[in-house]
Subunit: 284 residues, 4 copies
C-alpha cells in the first residue's frame, strides 16, 4: 500500500524551530511525511523526534540523504539515525530450553509481522535444534560454563558477523551476557519474566509466588551491563490469584512473555524506539 | 511550569508540505512548539494534526493569530480550531439521580485536574440539589416529560447561555436530548454504561447480565442525534464473572463510568480530541 | 504431583443440605477433596457446583461412582457430569486459511497445557495442510459450498466418529455450522473476533474500525444454532487507537484470539465450565 | 434481598473430610449455605475455607454458634473467625494531606458499598478537617514528629478504643506506624502507590519515572512491622508512556489508589480475605 519510506530518529538539545527545520528539509526535497511525532523532556532539555516520509517523489537519492541531513544536524548537536523501511534486518534468536518465545517469533516472522529474516538460532543447549530444523533455520549449540565463557562469547560474536546479524533477541536465553560482549554488539533485546524492577534476577515467578502478588508481569528491554536494568521498551501484566501455583504463574507468564517480546521487537524493527539515558521514547 | 500555550487542531486534505507550512508559521513568529502530533487517514485522504506552542516569546498578539493562520489555512481547505491554555472553560453538569460521576467531576475540578469551572448543575430530578449546595454550585431542577420536552429544552438552552457554558457533560443524565437541541448546542459529552456498540439504549447492565458476558465496559462519546452512536472519545472495561449479580455490574460499572468520563472531559478540555466523520483522533 | 482425580459438575434446584450431601458422599467413600466451588443463581433458584477429589484412597471403583452418585442425584433432580482427570480427550481442530490459532493450540498441546490429543485437522481449504504435515497430524480438506453443505457436514460428522473426537475447536473456521450438525455433535467451541455481543457476524474488525472504537475484543463461546450467540466462556480485550488501520486491528486481534480460545479450551478440558441456560459458570 | 448471614473463615492442617464436617455442622442445624469456597495450599499442607449461610431458619442462636463450632474446630487444630453480615464495622480513616482516597471512601460508604460506619478521621495534618466537617465526621489532628511519636501513638490508640474502631484504613497516611502500635491494633489496611514489591518506601512515582517503566501500579495490603511488606489484598495497574511526567503518574496513580484501596476494604468487610503466613486468600 505504502511505498518505501525513510525514517529519522533524532535527539538534540531543545530550541526553537526544530520541527520547522526538519520538516523543511523533507519538504524542500519533495518528501511526503506520513508520520511525525515528537517529545520534549523538559527536565533534560532534550527534544526527541521521529519523522517518516515516502521515498517516492523524494528528490534526494538514498545515499545522499544522510550527508545532506548531517549538515542540518551538526549545528543542532543532534544524534540521529536514518532507516529505510525496505531494509530487511537480520535477527539472531538466542534460546536456552524453553520454546514458546522462539515459536512465536518464528510464526510472526512468517506471518510478515516482522520485516526481518531469522537466519540463525544460537543456544547454550541442544534441545531446540528440532525446532530450528522444522523451520529450516541454522542452529548453533554453544554450551557455556564459567570457565569457557570468554571464548564461547567470541564464537557467538563471530557467528553474528558471519550471519550479518543486526539484532540479537534473547528469547528466554538464561545466561548473563558479559559487558565486553555488549560493548561489541549492543543491539540486544531481552525478555525478563517479571514486572521490572520487581523481581530482578533468577526465578522471578517463584519470588512472585512467595510474595503473594495479585498480578504478574513481563518486561522487554535493551540489554546493558547492569542485570535487568536496561531501557524498558514494553511491559504487560496478567492477574493471578491464590489458586495459581508456581507452575500456573509460569504458564500464564509464557503468554505474557511471547506478546511483550514480540511487541518490543516489532517496535524496534519499525524504528519506533529512541533510547536516551536509561529510558526509551516509544513513538507508536 | 509551562507558560500559556496556543493549540491548533487542524484537518485538511492530505498533500506534501503540510507539516513544514504549519511549523514554519509558528517558527517564523518565534514560537516554541512543545507538542506536535499528526495523523493521516489514508482512506479519507485526510491530514489531521495538533500543534501546541508557548505564547511567551511569540511575536503575534493573540488576536492576530487566527487571522494570520487563516491566510495559510484557506488555500489548504483546512478546518481548524485555535485554543489558548489559559482560557477557563465553563462546564454545565447534567445529572439525574446518580451522584458518582457528579462527585467525581467536582472532585477533579477542585483538584485542578480540569482547567475549567463548574458554575451550574442541571437535573430532571431534585435529588442531587444537596450535593450542589455542599459544593456551592447552582442547581436547576428542570423536570422533563414527553409533553413539556420542547419548552424545557428551551429553558435548558437559556441557562447554558446565561451561565456562558462551553461544554455540557451528561454525568448519567437519563434523558435523550433532541436533535434540535444538539444542533443549537453541539458541545456535549456523554457517558454510556456499556462497551459500545454493545448494549445501546436503556439498561445495559441488565442486558450484559442476561447475555452472560465476562467483561463489561463504559464509553464516553460526543452526543449526536443518533442514540449512543456519536464519536467515541474513550472506553474502558472491567472483568466480571458468574458471581456478579446485576447490582455488582452496576457497582463495578460506576468505577468505570467515573474514570472514563473524566478522561474524556480532560482530553476535550486539553484540546486533544479532533472529531472527523463519526470518529475521533485523540492526540495523547 | 497430584494423583488422578474425579470431578463432578452438578446443577440442581437449590435446597438446604446440598453441600453436605455431596461432600458426605465423597468423604464416606474415603475421598480427599482438592477443589470445591459452588454458585447459586438466586433468580433461577439453581445450585451449581464443581467438586474434585483424588482417586487415590477412594473406596469406590471408577465404574461404580456414577451409579452410586446417581442414587443421590435423582431425588435432587440434579443434572450432572462425571469426569476423570486422566482421560485424554480427543480434539478436532477446524480451520479455514488463518494459522495463528492452529499453531497456538498445537504448541500448547505439545507443551502439555492441554490434557488432550489432536489427531485431526479439518478444513474447507487446502492451505494449512502443510502445518498439519509439519506436526504429523491428519488433515482432511472438505470444501463447502451452499449446494454441498449437507453432504459435506455428513462427511465431517463421520470423521469425528472415526477419530473418536470429544471436542471440536473452531480455530477461525469461517463457515456457519448447521443446526442439524450441532444437534448431532454439540461439543463445539468457537473463537469470534469481536467483543460479543458487539459486531456479530462477518468482518468485525472492519466494523470496529468504522465505528471508531478505542478497544477491541475476542470471545470464545460454545456454538449454538444462533450465530455468535452461544454461552460465553471467555473474553478479553486490547486497546487500539486512531493510528490503527484495519490490518492493525486484525494483527492485534490475532494475539487476543489465540489466548482467549486457548483459555476457553483449557477451562473446558479441566471441566471447569458449567453451561446452564445460555450462560456459563466458570469455576476457576 | 438476602437475610442476615454468618460467615466462617477457617484454616487448618489438610485432611480428608473437612468439607463434609463443616457442611454437616451447618446442615445439621438447618442452615442454607449461600457461599462455600476453599483452597488447599499443598506446599504448606493447609486447608483454607470460607463458608457463608443464612441465619433465617438456622436452629442455633447466634451466641451458641461459636462454642458449638469450636467443638468441631479444636480436634482439627483449626484457626477460625465467625462474622455476622449485619454487624456494622466501624472504620477510622487516617489521612495526611491528600484527599482523593478519603473522598472516595466516604462516597462509597454513603452509597452503601461498605457495610460500615466512619465515625472518625485522624490526621497528622489539619488540612482535611474541612472535608470531615463537610460530611459531618469527627476529625482529630495528631501531629507527629520523631520526638513525640510514642505519646502520639498512644493518643491514636486511645481514640480507636474511644470510637470502638474495628478497622484502620490508611488512606494515604504518610507516616510509618510503629511495630508496637501494630501489635496492639493489628487490623490496618494501607494503600501503597506502587506495584509492590517494586518501589518500596517513599516517592514511588518519582522512582517509577526515573526507571522509565511503561506501567504503574497500586497495592493495598495489611500493615505489618516490615515496611510495605505485609500481605497483599489487591493490586491494579495502569499504562503510562514517555509523555507522562511525574505529575501525570501521580494523577493517574490517584485513580488506581482509590479503586484498589476501596476493593481491599470491601473484601475485608465482607470477610473474604483470609491471611496466612504473609499471603492472603481472597474468596471472591
Amino acid at each position: 500500500m505504502i511505498s518505501p519510506t525513510a525514517t529519522l530518529l533524532i535527539s538534540c538539545p531543545d530550541q526553537r524551530g526544530l520541527v520547522a527545520k526538519i520538516a523543511n528539509f523533507i519538504y524542500a526535497n519533495g518528501g511526503n511525511i506520513i508520520h511525525a511525532d515528537q517529545h520534549t523532556d523538559f527536565a533534560a532539555g532534550l527534544f526527541l523526534t521521529r519523522i517518516e516520509w515516502q521515498l517516492d517523489g523524494f528528490n534526494l537519492p538514498r545515499d545522499l540523504i544522510a550527508p545532506a541531513f548531517n549538515a542540518i544536524a551538526q549545528p543542532l548537536q543532534a544524534k540521529w539515525e536514518l532507516h529505510f523501511s525496505d531494509t530487511v534486518r537480520r535477527i539472531a534468536i538466542w534460546v536456552s530450553r524453553q520454546d514458546h518465545c522462539l515459536f512465536d517469533l518464528i510464526w510472526r516472522q512468517r506471518a510478515k509481522e516482522f520485516a526481518a529474516e531469522i537466519p540463525v538460532i544460537i543456544s547454550n543447549h541442544p534441545d531446540l535444534k528440532v525446532v530450528a530444523e522444522q523451520f529450516d533455520i541454522d542452529y548453533h549449540h554453544i554450551p557455556i560454563i564459567k570457565e569457557n565463557k570468554q571464548e564461547q562469547e567470541a564464537k557467538q560474536l563471530e557467528l553474528l558477523h558471519q550471519y550479518k546479524i543486526d539484532l540479537v533477541v534473547l528469547a528466554k536465553y538464561m545466561q548473563i551476557i558479559s559487558g565486553e560482549f555488549i560493548s561489541k554488539f549492543p543491539q540486544i533485546i531481552n525478555i525478563h519474566h517479571s514486572f521490572l524492577p520487581a523481581f530482578v534476577g533468577a526465578n522471578p515467578y517463584h519470588k512472585a509466588f512467595e510474595r503473594g502478588v495479585k498480578i504478574i508481569g513481563a518486561t522487554s528491554h535493551y540489554v546493558t551491563d547492569h542485570l535487568d536494568a536496561g531501557p524498558i521498551i514494553e511491559q504487560d501484566v496478567v492477574r493471578v490469584s491464590h489458586r495459581d501455583e508456581v507452575e500456573d504463574l509460569i504458564r500464564k507468564g509464557k503468554d505474557l512473555e511471547r506478546v511483550v517480546l514480540a511487541r518490543a521487537v516489532r517496535l524496534h524493527l519499525q524504528n519506533r524506539v529512541l533510547v536516551y539515558g536509561n529510558k526509551t521514547v516509544v513513538f507508536e
